[in-house]
């Protein structure tokens, strides 16, 4: 019982056709549906639910909402009560309000982000099927992303005013949703400011991450690839297609992922990463990074301070 995985993200894009071309041609997601207003739904080939990315045209970039899939309707009831008990606003959504999903909860997180929890979504199936499957399907484009893996959101932090939405989100995900805290960054003169956190409901180091910034927003959405050579190949695709690259292939100390970062045509940051890191379980001790070692945690090889990696976001 409980939260199973990140189900989808709903991204705001400035030009829908440019975004669709990017998410299909660069990331290799498969388009599954368009609403009459153009809103596009896509999935990774290795995912079985109907969609994991919604692209909606808007006059601002960023993340509109994201959603986690829970095991059962009973979980929704449980999380509804527990959220209210925790002082977090929850609204009920009828089946279909979250597209192609059953009844859902709309949770306004302490950081201000909108998150849905749902137990059912229309089934689609993996591109390789369920019966005697091949390891990968033919005809994949771009990076051929397997699945939407995690999302990192930016949360307001201003210790001088006593605001730490990272820590508040961590408490909610831990105490109400039962997530584990895989890794964290502690900062500030006394090392007591929780300035970033990586949390999991699966057995990988993160399904959601919280970073600190002056305002709430989206840091990145990340798609899973098999291995390092796929990350390098993605970087080749980025160069070929003149996509704005943010971080060339390298390794994170935090989560141990092999990674490359880039921007979609509206400026939303994407990541393709490989490697499942390490096994996480609820009893795993949290890994802590101190402020002086933060950049080694982010860019393991160089340890370079790249303020824009944290300061540029939608």
């Amino acid at each position: 019982m409980g939260v199973m995985r990140l189900g989808h993200v709903r991204l705001r894009v400035l030009d829908l056709e440019a975004a669709l071309d990017h998410y299909t041609g660069v990331l290799g997601l498969l388009p599954v549906h368009r609403d009459p207003d153009g809103t596009a739904y896509l999935k990774g080939w290795d995912e079985w639910d109907f969609y994991s990315v919604i692209l909606v045209e808007a006059d601002e970039a960023g993340i509109d909402s994201f959603a986690f899939k829970v095991e059962s309707e009973a979980d929704l009831d449980r999380y509804r009560e527990a959220s209210l008990g925790h002082g977090v606003a929850v609204a009920e959504c009828e089946a279909g309000e979250v597209p192609f999903c059953g009844r859902a909860l709309a949770v306004t997180l302490p950081s201000g982000h909108l998150m849905h929890l749902y137990a059912e979504k229309r089934f689609h199936g993996k591109a390789t099927g369920n019966l005697n499957p091949d390891p990968w399907p033919d005809g994949l484009k771009g990076a051929g992303g397997h699945w939407l893996d995690h999302v990192m959101i930016m949360c307001e932090l201003d210790p001088a005013r006593g605001i730490n939405k990272v820590a508040e989100n961590v408490a909610y995900f831990r105490d109400v949703l039962g997530f584990g805290l895989g890794e964290q960054v502690v900062a500030g003169p006394d090392g007591d400011v929780q300035a970033a956190a990586w949390m999991f409901c699966t057995t990988t180091p993160h399904d959601i991450a919280f970073g600190a910034g002056p305002r709430a927003g989206l840091h990145h959405v990340s798609f899973f690839l098999d291995d390092w050579s796929d990350v390098l190949r993605t970087a080749d695709i980025l160069a070929k297609r003149k996509v704005k690259v943010d971080v060339t292939p390298q390794r994170h100390g935090i989560t141990r992922g092999s990674t490359t970062y880039f921007f979609d045509p509206s400026g939303n940051r994407n990541e393709t990463f490989a490697g499942l890191g390490y096994l996480t379980q609820k009893d795993m001790p949290t890994i802590t990074w101190t402020e002086e070692n933060l950049w080694r945690g982010i860019f393991y090889h160089s340890g370079d301070v790249v303020g824009d990696f944290l300061g540029v976001y939608t």
Partner: protein
Amino acid sequence: MSGHSIVLAGVEHVFACSDEQNVLSALSAVHHRAIRSGCHGGGCGVCKVKVHEGQWRRGCMSRAHVSAEEEAEGIVLACRIWPESDLVIEAWGKLPARLARRAGLLPCEADT
């Protein structure tokens, strides 16, 4: 393809920018520190400039960072404008790089 010159206030170097190149890419080719380079998609808002002279074409840019009123005054995102003449521009707003000072994580109090 025709070339235009971009003058960035407070910077001696004159930048060359073709009409097929967005203004930010012309400036960031030499990694000029007077202007920040971010997402190059009109979404993050770090490359905000005010155009004092010249004509340009615009692409989509996020209203979270440039209001319609600002745009009417020539305040735009450098990554989403293409020159149609020589331009004189100025970096606009505080450089949020300062927000990421120190460990690059905690917002700097002096800036808020």
